[in-house]
Symmetry: C2
Subunit: 105 residues, 2 copies
Amino acid sequence: MIRHVVMFKIADTFTPPLQTEWLAGLETLVGPVPGLRSLSIGRDLLRAERSWDFALVAEFDTLAHLAAYATHPLHLPLIALSGQHCEHIVSVDYECPDSTAPEMT
Amino acid sequence: MIRHVVMFKIADTFTPPLQTEWLAGLETLVGPVPGLRSLSIGRDLLRAERSWDFALVAEFDTLAHLAAYATHPLHLPLIALSGQHCEHIVSVDYECPDSTAPEMT
């Protein structure tokens, strides 16, 4: 299983309505996107010095499914939205034991 | 439940042996650290332009448990190690449905 982790530092132009549109869009991806097992997106609570604004944690069956997700028609407008309204977006994609299996728990 | 997501962009000084020591240390935290339900740390596979090096995804019962983790004696040397050998460390901490419950799956 592949865990896809993305962090977003938003710009002032990413207004609350745009954020709501973006979050709602992300919630529609599980199901239609092949191999996407789960997707969680959250807004930072702590607002510490090193805190960014949102983190997305998604799980895919394979790297091929992750690659297809990057160009999926439901995802493209969301990429455009965050790309337009974030100062920084960074990601880490790593091999991870199947989340239904115990994972250092 | 609180999801704690941290991303690391390492410096050249973070040699493979130091990384191994750091990763091994992180694996010891689940169990001794109160309220820490799970912890997953992974090395980036894609090496894309926006890729950083490691992502950590951990889950805590509460924000208070997350706060205690930050000063736990087992964790402090690992914070020192990554702090000393990373160019950037950013985090997002967010409220998340209990991972045992279905989460947009």
